[in-house]
Every structure is written in structure tokens, then in C-alpha cells.
């Protein structure tokens, strides 16, 4: 076929609809914006609006005064505490695992199996996960009972499993694999030449980690820790299934305020608390984005 005998080809090379191509190219992202609008922006708007409506139906800030109570405050700090601990522990163990995987063969069995397992486990949570833990190391769990039969008491100083430490442990189950998934790209961005350059310039392994790999990975590590924090902070079902006492952490407090059996439900107050949670996540995720942007320049 000659070029001259193919006018259709030349016509196709021109932008569709003359110079006005913007409306058409934007069409592709419309489903995404609809999705974000319905599942992210709309609920946030409802929470914001609801939090500004007082018990008597008028617009007021009374709900925000309402959350400034010791028990509300406590559920919030509990949430922050458990999220911080599970994020930091998850980040440390996850980073170590990710490092082991990243230094191995990129197409090897270890990497492929760890990455797919992490992909599945990081999404595992909620009632099923809690049940799995209860059935394993709960006071009726088979590991607990088996150890007990062999004269070993898992909880010699009282059962901590059904309290915040237990919840932290369960959270680690998905925090560690999530860290592996989000931290691997940064580790992959570390080039072997940097270690060799450090060596040829007279540095040893300590210098390499202190001056090169450490500073390069730290922002990403911190960013990933923040992501893990947000992940734990917003988890609900796992905690709801484990903790019998209501309102221990912020998401459960929101639930308690919405579905009080004594008829004292306070939807406005619940929404004010939820809005405070949104604010925390917003701050954390902004910092995460900031840190990721910084490292992406280094570790391409």
C-alpha cells in the first residue's frame, strides 16, 4: 500500500473533532470521578453537614464541644496509640522482610511467593481474621489449650488478648504484609552502583547505610509508616469483633454513638467524631504524599 493511496490514515492522524479534543479525553476519567464522588466526597460531605446539626436540629458547633469529653478523648487516644504501635512494629518487621525479598532474585521463587502472599494477607481483616486469632490463641483457642495441656500458660499475668494489646497483635497480621508491598518499590530503586561507589570511595557497610541507603530510604520508610497508621486508624470490623466493650477506640465509639441500645443515640456527635478521624487521616496522608514525592525523585 502506498502512502498516497491511504487518505484514511492521514485523516485519522488529525485530532478528532478538529481542535476541540479536551471534552473527549476527559470522558475517560468520568467513571473515576463518579466513583470518588459517591464513595469518598459524598460521605465526607454528609459527615460534615451532620456534624454541624445539633440535637435540636439547628446548626451549631455543639457536637464538637460534645466530643471534648474524657471518654471520647480516651477512645481517640487509644486509637492513635494502637495505630502508632501497630504501624511502627509493622513497618520495622515489614521493612526487614521486604529487604530480604528485594536483595534476592527478582524473578525468584521467594520473591514471587512472598509478594503474592503479602498481596492476599494485607487485605485480610475483619471478623474472619479476628475469629482466626480467637480460635488460635484465644482462651478457647487450640494453641492456647495445647500449651496449657503441656503446662504452659500463655497469659500468666492475665489475658491481654481481648484488649488493646491483642488488637495490636491482630493488626500486625495485615500491617506487616502491607509494609512489604508499599516499601518494596523504594528498595528496588536502590542501585547496586551506590554501594560499589561507596566502597571504591573508601566507605564500608556502615558508611553505606549511614550516609547513602539510610537517608535514601528513610523518607519512604516514614511515609509507609504513616500509611500503615492510617490503615490501622480506620480499621473497624476487626476491632468490633474482638472487643466486647464498646467505644474503646474511635471507630467503635462512632458505632456506639450511632446505635445506642439505651436510645441515647447521638448521630451528630458520631459525625463530629468521624470528622475528627477524617482530619487525622487527611493530615497523615498529606504527609505520606509529601514524603513519597520526595523519594520518587531519588529512587526512580
Amino acid at each position: 500500500m502506498t502512502a498516497a493511496g491511504n487518505p484514511a490514515f492521514n485523516a485519522a492522524a488529525r485530532p478528532l473533532g478538529g481542535g476541540r479534543r479536551l471534552p473527549l479525553t476527559w470522558l475517560g476519567v468520568v467513571p473515576f470521578f463518579i466513583y470518588v464522588g459517591i464513595f469518598l466526597l459524598l460521605p465526607t460531605a454528609i459527615i460534615l453537614a451532620g456534624s454541624l446539626i445539633g440535637p435540636d436540629g439547628s446548626i451549631s458547633l455543639s457536637n464538637f464541644e460534645g466530643i471534648n469529653k474524657p471518654y471520647m478523648y480516651k477512645s481517640f487516644t487509644n486509637s492513635i496509640e494502637i495505630s502508632t504501635i501497630s504501624a511502627v512494629l509493622g513497618a520495622i518487621f515489614g521493612a526487614l522482610l521486604a529487604y530480604a525479598v528485594a536483595t534476592g532474585d527478582p524473578k525468584g521463587f521467594l520473591r514471587r511467593s512472598v509478594m503474592s502472599a503479602a498481596g492476599v494477607v494485607a487485605q485480610f481483616g475483619g471478623v474472619t481474621l479476628t475469629f482466626a486469632f480467637v480460635a488460635t490463641i484465644g482462651t478457647e483457642g487450640f494453641v492456647y489449650l495445647w500449651l496449657q495441656q503441656h503446662g504452659i500458660e500463655m497469659y500468666p499475668n492475665g489475658v491481654w488478648f481481648f484488649d488493646l494489646p491483642g488488637l495490636t497483635l491482630i493488626y500486625l497480621y495485615f500491617q506487616i504484609p502491607l509494609m512489604v508491598l508499599v516499601f518494596i518499590p523504594a528498595l528496588d530503586g536502590i542501585r547496586p552502583q551506590w554501594r560499589e561507589a561507596t566502597e571504591s570511595l573508601g566507605g564500608n557497610a556502615w558508611h553505606y547505610w549511614r550516609y547513602v541507603a539510610g537517608p535514601l530510604l528513610f523518607p519512604s520508610f516514614l511515609g509507609c509508616t504513616l500509611l500503615l497508621f492510617a490503615n490501622a486508624f480506620s480499621a473497624y470490623a476487626t476491632a468490633a469483633a474482638l472487643l466486647t466493650q464498646g467505644g474503646v477506640i474511635a471507630p467503635l465509639q462512632v458505632q456506639a454513638l450511632l446505635t445506642s441500645e439505651t436510645g441515647s443515640s447521638a448521630p451528630g456527635l458520631a459525625k463530629a467524631l468521624a470528622l475528627a478521624m477524617v482530619a487525622v487521616v487527611l493530615v497523615v496522608m498529606s504527609l505520606y504524599a509529601l514524603l513519597q514525592r520526595r523519594t520518587s525523585q531519588w529512587l526512580r
Binding site: E196, A197, E199, S200, N204, P215, W298
Partner: protein
């Protein structure tokens, strides 16, 4: 410029270096001595062992057997960080979170030089490579060529005994490559440092080096000045790898080869008689317009003229084979595409192609 230009390079000796990876011989008994201040280029196709050799000198890899000596001192068992070598990698070796100045100062920091002194030295080194105004830039704010200049400055800042360059130009585009190549040579001469340069690009090796070592399959095929490598290749591999070569069938007889009626002397007169493929350089082929349009074994038609600047390469179809001829552009103008020409082969000593390829050609 106080770049310690007075510092004399040291002699670097590689003695029967051998490296075996899981049963595969990557480097086979390489022996090579670099005179103080000399620049030797190791040239060869990928997998020929040149990079292995460089890494053994750097201490980034361990020898299977053999020795590396710097100025008479055996450094074979020393780690890379104790060897005092400056190394420039193929690409992306600058620490991305440090400025150019911090990169250059890094080796001095490892040597506990105080900050003021190392910054002063960094700035001197950046000036040496022509990047005075770029001290505060990060790697991602520099072009590929600039990054390699910083890498060179970083390697030299520690005043190493030896400079090792591992294909430092191969990630750059052609124009920058040529300029930076000359720049590297200028800096190397100015500092006077003994340098080993590894490349797969023959033009680069021939242009920059005092001596070129051509490697193939873990072995050093030939070591010599660029002109010798080009005009007197010691082996058929070198003849074919370095520069363009016409493969012309002929008859070896009594220490000569007869190619289409022209007698050519052999580099190795002891070649046994018989049919063989002679390797003839394009520069050894000259053209004359064939006014009579008569026949003959070396008469053909010009099918293409490639303008290369001062010289041109003319492709001639002899009917049963294609021959390349290279000549000054002014001469090539006399024989445009389509003209009938007769070829003359200059009686330079020629090599005979390796047996296996000759057999395959036949």
C-alpha cells in the same frame, strides 16, 4: 589549577588474572601492565571479560587466581575500600540525595578530611571537569553527560592510584559521547593518573587510549597502540571486530593470497595453501572509472555512496559480491551511484578469516 597534576601515576600490573563463575571462565589468565600515567582501553564484545577484569582491579570482585599489583604492591586481597581506586560507572552512580559538591566530597568525608577542606577540593575538582557553576545541583537536575563529569570528579577527588572507567559513555547520546570522551582524556592527561577504560565501542577505544587491548572470550587477543590494532591486527577476530572489513575469497599460495587476480601479501606467510577468505580493509580498495566498460574480476557498479565527512564510503556490486571502499570525499565524488568502476586492491598484508567462518562462507 591545583589538582595535583604533578602526582605521578603508578604502574598497575595484572598477573595471570583468572575468574571463574560457576564453572564458566569469564577471564582467562589476563596479564597486562599499565605504565604510570598510561591509559589502556580494554575493548571487546559483551561477555568478553573486560568488565570482569576491571572489577577485579577495583576489588569489587574476587580473583579465582592471579595477582593485581599497584606500584609493585600486591593488592589482590585488599577490599575495594582499601585499594585507593577511583571508579566511574556506566550510569546512575551519583548519590541522588546529595548535591554534586557533596558527591565529590564523599570520598574525602570517608577519609575524615574536614568539611572546609573537602568542599574546597570538591569545587576544584568540579572546576577541573568544567562544572564550576553546578556544585549545588542534584543528580536529577543534571544531564547525563554532566552526571558523568561529576562522577569523574568524585572518582578523582580522593587522589586515587588508579582510575577505572566502566563504559562511562555508553548511556549518553552520540554528540555528548564524543565531547565527554575528549574531556576524560584531557583530565586524565592533566592529572597523570594510570587509567583502565573498558568499552565495547572501538571508535571510543581507538580515540582515547595510549594502548588498546582487544578481548574475546575471556582472553586478550591483542594489545597495542590504536594504529597497530587497526592497521596490523594480530588475529582475524581483531581484524573483524575493529573497523570494517571486506571478506573476499581467494587462493593462498606460497605465502600470498590471490584475490580476483590481485596478489596480496599475508600477515602470516605460513598460512597453508588452499581456498581462504582474505580480510581486506575498505581503505585498501581504490576506484577508477572504467571508461572501457570492459569486464574483469574487479569491475562492478557503484550502488551507494555514504558521505562520512572528510571521507566517503562507496559500496560496489561486483555481481557476485559487495565490496566497500573508503576514500577522500573529493575522490568519491567522481564515482556517483550507478557508475561502472574498476577496483584496485592495495597490496597491504592481509589476514585470513578464521577457519570455521571461512568454511561457512564457502
Amino acid at each position: 589549577m591545583s589538582t595535583n597534576g604533578s602526582k605521578l601515576g603508578v604502574e598497575v600490573r595484572l598477573e595471570q588474572l583468572r575468574r571463574v563463575f560457576a564453572g564458566v571462565v569469564a577471564l582467562d589468565e589476563l596479564s597486562l601492565t599499565l605504565a604510570p600515567g598510561e591509559l589502556v582501553a580494554l575493548l571487546g564484545p559483551s561477555g568478553c571479560g573486560k568488565t570482569t577484569a576491571l572489577r577485579l582491579v577495583a576489588g569489587l570482585d574476587e580473583v579465582t587466581s592471579g595477582k593485581v599489583l599497584f606500584g609493585g604492591t600486591d593488592v589482590t586481597t585488599l577490599g575495594a575500600n582499601k585499594r585507593d581506586v577511583g571508579m566511574v560507572f556506566q550510569a546512575y552512580s551519583l548519590f541522588p540525595h546529595m548535591t554534586a559538591r557533596q558527591n565529590v566530597a564523599f570520598g574525602l568525608q570517608m577519609r575524615h578530611v574536614d568539611e572546609q577542606a573537602r568542599n574546597r577540593r570538591s569545587d576544584e575538582m568540579l572546576e577541573l571537569v568544567g562544572l564550576s557553576g553546578y556544585a549545588d545541583r542534584f543528580a536529577h537536575q543534571l544531564s547525563g553527560g554532566q552526571q558523568q563529569r561529576v562522577a569523574l570528579a568524585r572518582a578523582l577527588a580522593i587522589q586515587p592510584k588508579v582510575l577505572l572507567l566502566d563504559e562511562p559513555l555508553s548511556a549518553l547520546d552520540a554528540k555528548v559521547r564524543g565531547r565527554l570522551r575528549d574531556e576524560i582524556r584531557r583530565v586524565q592527561l592533566e592529572v597523570g593518573i594510570t587509567t583502565l577504560f573498558v568499552t565495547h565501542d572501538q571508535e571510543e577505544a581507538l580515540a582515547i587510549a595510549d594502548r588498546v587491548g582487544v578481548m574475546n572470550k575471556g582472553r586478550l587477543e591483542q594489545l597495542g597502540p590504536p594504529t597497530t590494532i587497526y592497521s596490523r591486527p594480530a588475529t582475524p577476530f581483531v581484524a573483524e571486530f575493529v573497523g570494517l572489513t571486506n571478506r573476499m575469497e581467494g587462493e593462498v599460495k606460497g605465502g600470498e593470497v590471490i584475490v580476483r587476480g590481485t596478489r596480496l601479501p599475508l600477515v602470516r606467510p605460513d598460512t597453508p595453501d588452499g581456498t581462504a577468505v582474505a580480510l581486506v580493509r575498505p581503505e585498501a580498495v581504490s576506484l577508477a572509472s572504467d571508461g572501457d566498460a570492459g569486464g574483469g574480476p574487479l569491475v562492478g557498479t557503484v550502488i551507494a555512496v555514504a558521505f562520512l565527512g572528510a571521507t566517503s564510503r562507496v559500496t560496489v556490486d561486483l555481481g557476485d559480491m559487495i565490496v566497500l571502499a573508503q576514500m577522500p570525499t573529493s575522490q568519491a565524488a567522481a564515482t556517483p551511484a550507478g557508475s561502472r568502476v574498476s577496483l584496485t586492491l592495495r597490496p597491504d598484508p592481509v589476514l585470513i578469516a578464521r577457519d570455521e567462518t571461512a568454511a561457512a562462507e564457502a
